[in-house]
């Protein structure tokens, strides 16, 4: 996938470039707004990662200019400003998602991949499989080692998100947003508790190790090769 990153802070820029390159993406960069606008309008990208505060041309203005040309490339906004404010402003200006700095790269990657997939319609998945876990999305039937397990709706949604991102570290915020349609930092162990319930159900069937806690980052559904 071809990604454009417009970011003036060298450290953040290197951090993101390194991460995306490791994932096999082709990433181009711009250090300021004007250069960013030039690249965004002259080339075709699958995703634009845009910092809010840029020299010469602000991120939101750049975004407005890009959108004015009819360009519908997904845009991920990065911002060092406070969380609550940015969501509304950034999304209203035509951004597709946003993250506040500092952020974990794993979360940025998950969010960006989700945005990039949007443009490429994939065949509707009805079946998910991760190691011993299998999930029928239509019947909402989940089996572990062939044995059916009963999940509550929220547990089902959590597990679905983890299975869609197997082997990836998923932050609590991502899980929270995937399950509940609310945007805020619950600052509580609400996700941990739901994961714990899910894990207990796996333990009963001898698979307690399936969901891994990654300290300081989130959770990961392990699929051994």
């Amino acid at each position: 996938m071809k990604v454009l990153l417009v970011e003036d802070d060298a450290t953040t820029l290197d951090y993101i470039v390194k991460g995306f390159t490791e994932q096999g993406h082709n990433i181009e960069t711009a250090n300021d707004g004007h250069q960013g606008l030039l690249l965004a309008t002259s080339n075709q990208y699958d995703l634009i990662i845009l910092d809010r505060m840029l020299p010469s041309l602000g991120g939101l203005k750049l975004l407005a200019a890009v959108r004015a040309t009819g360009n519908q490339t997904p845009v991920m906004l990065l911002s060092a400003l406070s969380h609550v404010d940015e969501r509304v402003k950034g999304l209203r200006a035509g951004g597709d998602d946003y993250m506040t700095k500092p952020f974990a790269f794993s979360e940025l990657l998950v969010r960006c991949e989700k945005l990039m997939q949007r443009g490429h319609t994939q065949p509707m998945q009805t079946h998910l499989k991760a190691g011993p876990l299998e999930m029928e999305l239509l019947t909402r039937n989940v089996t572990l080692d062939g044995q059916e397990i009963m999940l509550q709706p929220k547990e089902f949604q959590l597990l679905k998100y983890l299975m869609e991102h197997v082997n990836q570290v998923i932050s609590r915020t991502l899980l929270f947003e995937a399950v509940w349609d609310y945007h805020f930092d619950p600052r509580t162990n609400v996700i941990d508790v739901h994961i714990a319930k899910l894990r207990r159900k796996f333990e009963e069937l001898g698979h307690g190790e399936l969901i891994e806690t990654v300290r300081g980052a989130g959770y990961r559904l392990r699929q051994r090769n």
Binding site: S82, H83, V84, D85, V88, K89, T100, P102, K154, W180, Y182, H183, F184, D185, P186, R187, T188, N189, V190, V193, H194, A196, K197, V214, R215, G216, A217
Partner: protein, 401 residues
């Protein structure tokens, strides 16, 4: 002119009177009349032989015949010794008599009138000037005072206020308005100051933990580093979320944050609260019951509103202890979150909404101390009212939209 005319009129009529008198009475009677003449109306003198009869003791020379008149001075024994008379000679049957009138009365009166008016004008001017001076001095002094006060404010004394007088005039209206502006500014300033202080206070501790942690990282055995870094990251994330909460709180409190309003059903919110919090309650062996009445739809920022209500439910779960029962009651625009835990002592019921107030002295539960301030700020922005009362035992949080 008016005076001269009156004087000569008077003299003329007197002259005719004496001319007629001389024709009708005897010389003796005439003399008697003259000597008895009312000196207030007119002064008459008649030189009968050598002696002079009448109000005047002498006959001045060179007096013209009436209607011509002439002024002449006389001396009297009264307080105003020198008088000016105007008079003329009238020829009667018994010889010439002098008829004269005191004209200095008029001139004195006129003089007095002129001087009185002059004095009055002078006094008026002086008083007006004095009053004007005093008035302008007062206004000027008030302006100078205001100016001095605003200089004080400029220098950073934000508690300075403009004085109000009993006059309730335009200055007071202006001063009052300025004071209101200053109140708002001071409040905002205090809020910002509070935040910087809080940031310094509450963030220094986790930051110093981080510093210690990073220092120790150098000496950690290699297989321990992963675990150690994860600890540091958690500490750092807590620090960042506190920071974010402080910024958000201020922006919500001061109305700078634009709300993303949409119709929100309280039934939906309550179901979501139950959905999210039930697992938390189960973990503490608590029961979470929900009781819904008539639904109510309000125009709200659902993310913020849910955050506030979830915070309240989360607090009930955290602080009511094991085996407690937590209830969410909703009916129309009234919402109650009730627990049967230890509750909050009355004296703290108001304080809990203040920033960084934590009733849990051990700080056993990790939190920012901003949760309830945020709840209050969010509810206030939604024009909702929140109050705490006792459940004997436990706490009732009532919210009215």
């Amino acid at each position: 002119m008016e005076q001269n005319y009156q004087v000569s009129e008077n003299l003329q009529s007197q002259a005719q009177h004496y001319q007629q008198l001389s024709r009708t009475v005897s010389r003796d009677k005439f003399a008697e009349q003259i000597s008895r003449a009312d000196s207030k109306a007119v002064l008459v003198a008649w030189k009968d032989g050598k002696s002079v009869i009448g109000a005047l003791s002498f006959m001045p020379d060179d007096m013209p015949y009436l209607p011509k008149t002439k002024d002449f001075p006389i001396l009297t024994t009264g307080p105003d010794k020198l008088h000016i008379l105007t008079g003329g000679i009238v020829n009667t049957k018994y010889g010439n008599i002098l008829i004269a009138n005191r004209t200095d009365h008029f001139s004195a009166m006129l003089d007095k009138f002129v001087s009185a008016s002059a004095t009055a004008i002078m006094v008026t001017i002086i008083v007006a000037l004095a009053m004007g001076y005093v008035f302008s001095k007062t206004i000027l002094s008030r302006l100078t005072h205001y100016n001095r006060l605003s200089e004080e404010i400029e220098q950073g004394r934000y508690d300075t206020r403009f004085p109000l007088s009993w006059r309730n005039d335009e200055f007071d209206v202006l001063a009052n308005q300025f004071n209101k502006v200053l109140d708002t500014l001071e409040n905002n300033l205090m809020a910002i100051r509070g935040i910087t202080d809080n940031i310094a206070h509450d963030l220094r501790t986790p930051l110093s933990h981080l510093r210690i942690g990073i220092e120790q990282l150098i000496n950690q055995p290699a297989d321990n580093i992963h675990e150690h870094c994860a600890n540091l990251l958690e500490e750092l994330d807590h620090c960042l979320s506190t920071f974010d909460a402080m910024l958000s709180l201020t922006r919500i409190e001061e109305g700078q944050l634009e709300l993303e309003r949409q119709p929100v059903s309280l039934h939906t919110i309550c179901h979501d609260l139950q959905d999210m919090a039930e697992a938390l309650a189960e973990m503490n062996q608590q029961k979470l019951n929900i009781e819904l009445g008539n639904d109510y739809t309000l125009n709200a920022d659902k993310h913020l509103l849910f955050q506030a209500l979830f915070n309240l439910v989360d607090n009930a779960i955290k602080y009511s202890g094991e085996n407690a029962t937590i209830e969410i009651h909703q009916d129309g625009c009234h919402l109650k979150i009730i627990d049967n835990g230890p509750g909050i002592p009355d004296e703290f019921k108001d304080k809990v909404f203040d920033r960084l107030v934590r009733l849990d002295p051990s700080r056993h539960h990790q939190g920012t101390g901003l949760g309830l301030s945020m709840v209050k700020a969010i509810l206030t922005r939604h024009n909702a009212n929140i109050s705490l009362s006792d459940n004997h035992p436990g706490l009732i949080v009532s919210i009215d939209f």
